[in-house]
Symmetry: D2
Subunit: 378 residues, 4 copies
Amino acid sequence: MTRLNWGMIGGGEGSQIGPAHRLGAQADGNFVLAAGALDHDAEKGRAYAQSLGVAADRAYGDWREMLAGETAREDRVDLVTVATPNSTHFEITKAFLEAGFNVLCEKPMTMTVEQGEEIVKVAAKTGKICAVNYCYSAYPMVREMRQIVRTGQVGKIRLIVTNFSHGHHGDATDADNPRVRWRYDPAMAGVSGQFADCGIHALHMASFIAGDQVRTLSADFASTIGSRTLEDDAMVNFRLEGGTVGRLWTSSVAIGRQHGFDIQVFGETGGMRWASEQPNQVYYTPVGGRTQIMEKGEDGLSDEASRLSRVAIAHPEGFPLAVANIYVDLAASIRGEVRDGLPLASDGLRSMAAVHQAVASAKADGAWVDARPPMFRD
Amino acid sequence: MTRLNWGMIGGGEGSQIGPAHRLGAQADGNFVLAAGALDHDAEKGRAYAQSLGVAADRAYGDWREMLAGETAREDRVDLVTVATPNSTHFEITKAFLEAGFNVLCEKPMTMTVEQGEEIVKVAAKTGKICAVNYCYSAYPMVREMRQIVRTGQVGKIRLIVTNFSHGHHGDATDADNPRVRWRYDPAMAGVSGQFADCGIHALHMASFIAGDQVRTLSADFASTIGSRTLEDDAMVNFRLEGGTVGRLWTSSVAIGRQHGFDIQVFGETGGMRWASEQPNQVYYTPVGGRTQIMEKGEDGLSDEASRLSRVAIAHPEGFPLAVANIYVDLAASIRGEVRDGLPLASDGLRSMAAVHQAVASAKADGAWVDARPPMFRD
Amino acid sequence: MTRLNWGMIGGGEGSQIGPAHRLGAQADGNFVLAAGALDHDAEKGRAYAQSLGVAADRAYGDWREMLAGETAREDRVDLVTVATPNSTHFEITKAFLEAGFNVLCEKPMTMTVEQGEEIVKVAAKTGKICAVNYCYSAYPMVREMRQIVRTGQVGKIRLIVTNFSHGHHGDATDADNPRVRWRYDPAMAGVSGQFADCGIHALHMASFIAGDQVRTLSADFASTIGSRTLEDDAMVNFRLEGGTVGRLWTSSVAIGRQHGFDIQVFGETGGMRWASEQPNQVYYTPVGGRTQIMEKGEDGLSDEASRLSRVAIAHPEGFPLAVANIYVDLAASIRGEVRDGLPLASDGLRSMAAVHQAVASAKADGAWVDARPPMFRD
Amino acid sequence: MTRLNWGMIGGGEGSQIGPAHRLGAQADGNFVLAAGALDHDAEKGRAYAQSLGVAADRAYGDWREMLAGETAREDRVDLVTVATPNSTHFEITKAFLEAGFNVLCEKPMTMTVEQGEEIVKVAAKTGKICAVNYCYSAYPMVREMRQIVRTGQVGKIRLIVTNFSHGHHGDATDADNPRVRWRYDPAMAGVSGQFADCGIHALHMASFIAGDQVRTLSADFASTIGSRTLEDDAMVNFRLEGGTVGRLWTSSVAIGRQHGFDIQVFGETGGMRWASEQPNQVYYTPVGGRTQIMEKGEDGLSDEASRLSRVAIAHPEGFPLAVANIYVDLAASIRGEVRDGLPLASDGLRSMAAVHQAVASAKADGAWVDARPPMFRD
């Protein structure tokens, strides 16, 4: 099986996201880094790409140069990862899709709902893959939960409760730190702070596991540190299309929570719980029975979970390999296999709509609003 | 130190709450069961009381007989516990207060806000203790959290997140079981199901630890099992008088949660977490520092926590001794010591107002409402 | 059901063990404190007993006076608890047994094996109950584990691994503190330090759950703090009569362990784990299956577990109520019911033999020795 | 920074260890798979190597061919990983070292102590790196523990307690399964079963963290399933050169333990605990203080821990990236940087000596023996 050619935009030297994508793309030998425009400083980007093994003529100074260069080649990259500042995702993703490239875009896919709808349309028109990096959904045991729901083992889902709360922005004396401050500044972060940053991972996962979409929501936002304009804490109640009740709490001032992303799914005949800090287990309880600890790698898991695990039971696999699983599914999809677990442009769009509608709801004292993008409404 | 005389109404043979109160009252040797009207069947009640060591002339057939009998005695009981069906709490509590008895009333103290205000007034007029059994607040480590807030160790409280969710009513095939059904039937349970049953413990604890009162709230109620009229799942957002943001989730269909009552308190300079299933620890994190595991019985705890613990560090103490701690504080108060941790009639009233207002909010699609009883509004 | 009369020797004002026994005896209303010789200072003992409600003529100055006084009464106490310094247990227990009293003796029952054999013989001759306070065996979920073994649900037991390790004597700068030092001084503690103090609880529990007795053992003792003569850390390998392999680690210098008493039982068809710091759960795993979390109070537990639990599932019950369960079984036994879970004199004797033989083994570089008292050898 | 050329022997299609090494070597972009003799079937090995991107002339049919081929090249591989069946490790490792290659050998490095000494001598003579894959020691938080010991933060180490116990061989009905049976058959596994398979990881880690070597040991072995010749359960007491007491339990019949590898280190001024199933935390307790939860990625960790972590705090990293960390250190060492954390041939030798001596001790009823290889004795 030959390796696929992979190109990356952004993720230059010193970034945190760059190494995660490179590890993810290369860990399983599916992709080889063949091209890149890694830095907003063209010279640094070219040099860094070459230090990573990219040929000189594919070490580009910026994304436009890369778009032109790769489009002109016979051996053009099979996949482009967009890991640039948020406000540029739309333009770059759209351009590469239109030129016929498959794209993996970092979240948020766009800044506005209109942009999101545009990407969805472009992806549909070109027939190319436009994936969005909701990487938590690629943990094997999250996939297992989805299969459990699909196969009816917990019955109809009544209720989903999910949290994504940390305390790393809880120090008011650090609030002016540029690495923290921008997230709460509308000029830089857009309409939402913590909900757009972390909450949408949780909202996506609720839909992903339930196999259903968010229809309505009601939001309560708070800026608990005075200097902030955007919310650092949010509660969002929601309803899925099928009637499932949803509750989502997200916070960045929850001091003591390191990375408190967890989800609980309660159906007619059973409940499940998963947490990102111990991602290799699911706690499953059949109604009237005892809680059982499911382990990644145990006998009898679904193919969906099994194929995304690399080492034996109780050998933990972590976040970087969840990112790698996104690339596993991308490689398979590019090679023509059917992979229905990949988060796609429609998911990116739904997130963006939910963010904007949550902001509107919060401003209207928690009024219930339609969470869907216009193009997906009835 | 002589023992105090204690009387009990309700809690007859076969009830679950009766043994818990008897253990609580007697465990530390503060009270001796001197009188009782334990059963709605007068004869059974008299016989059972005598089997527990109550003298024949103080083994009463009903509460009115007990009220008359005890009022007439010189050695009247020092405390009456009211553990009868919810709808009778008001009448009995009021009558004993007016006759000059101290009362411990099971929750809910009353069925209506008006009744609650009446009890508060009667208690104030008579100068007698009217306590309400929010027993979780008497766990040593909950008291420690309150002291940590009081002494400013975590700064101003920004955010409180609390859950009280179980799955024991999650089996739809069991929903018609009379022991389950009545909780969701307005004719028997009043205006609220799960929020009134469990949620108010969590709401009380938020106020208790914060040392502040709920001012406003917004509620989202759901009946996830079709045959139910009242809610079996609720999310309540709230604000304390001082501005603290609150989030409270309560559910009885969360299959796999046994007794998921926990509270997280996030202040300017630290966070804390406590859970009722492991009540002897608090997880405390100073801002910018590591999470520390505080243990009941460790050196340096407050007097408030230390005096309510009976055995050495890491020897767990559980729910029955939290109830016993309520009686410890009652005995001390009756003996004239100052105990400011006892939940009182005003707490019972605030809970009742919060329940009624949450119901109103939920009916109004989550509109924010004043959570306070009329007599405590500005 | 009338209350039984209970007498206590030792456990005076300020002792820790006294309140634990009083709570244990009185919590469920089975016993009333009717007599006591509570303090080595006769006057203080008499006064304290009366403050606890003991009649003046049964508030004794010492145990001999109590023995004489109670023997002379018609309404003599039904049970005597011996909670005096270790070196006096033998003499007092023997005297009361011979006078026809039921006795609950604190551990260690005796200081020598010979004394232990004497107690066993005396108890047999008189037909009175001589129980020893291995209270951990009275936790409901420990009883459940024993029933699981008895009913063959985990097959023949291959292996038991148990630890009882804490770090509360790990501070060398505190080693001369009299409350710590005596435990490692042979003049005061006898032949063994940590193994005699904590290890024998674990050894008893292994036998208790397995329903089998220790036959041989090999010990490795260490005094990790230089000033100590007796061991503060010990590893004891053992074999039960039926061939089960046993491993027991006990330490008092394991800094960070608060009360690390746990036991793992591995049979042919399943494994189980219980820990004293979270005593309301057992983790049970059928061979080839998932780990299940068993909860105190869940449906389907054995009568043995159910009758020793007081409150509903997931309401934790802790150490003081495990002590209370010893008294529950004592009351039932005194009333003529069959209770086979009570730790008896033979258990106290076996512990003493194991301690002395472990000391001998450790001195002989871990040589395997017969762990049984002479009277129980083949 | 150019990539290093890497060659692999063994780890062919369908093996579990092959992907782990390939991920480990390639995840961080340090190595590129340049040569391989991946399968005992020459043709399959050549084909598979090429499918992984190895050039046809470096896709070898067996290790001797690879040795000849690579020795003859200018661009010979910088590192050879030996992942063949255990009995061949010695011959292959020795041959490559002698030809001037750096080697990473899977454990066990050799089958006999004499072979181990030979490898140590050859590695010393050639000056090449001979590493052994004790990959657990490369977890960031294990490195942190070692730094904590080195810098004296917990004082002199008194006691180390470590377990590596699972239950995956606990099903007697599966004992004849060839994948299980060989481990307990001396003809295939050598002198030891579970201790050689898992125990030596734990023993290595004890030495690694303590910065000290095992001097003496005493072993108790058991074969709890009748059909087994070699032990499936072992307890090994040991002493380090500096006097530290050690206790190591390893089992493969501990049903319910998935991968129960943990280590507790107790020093004069603090204790620490780490477990392989939650490898991103260390529980640290200063003497007299509270237990603190240390997190991978937290501020203030040592460089040793920080440089081996790839993603932010509370984003878990698991087993495959611990293997990758071995390759990170190998790459650095090959490039001339000083890395003192790599497990080397001397570690492999010490393990082999400990295995053989534990077997001897167990046969001699637990007699204490010198655990060191002859060449490292005084």
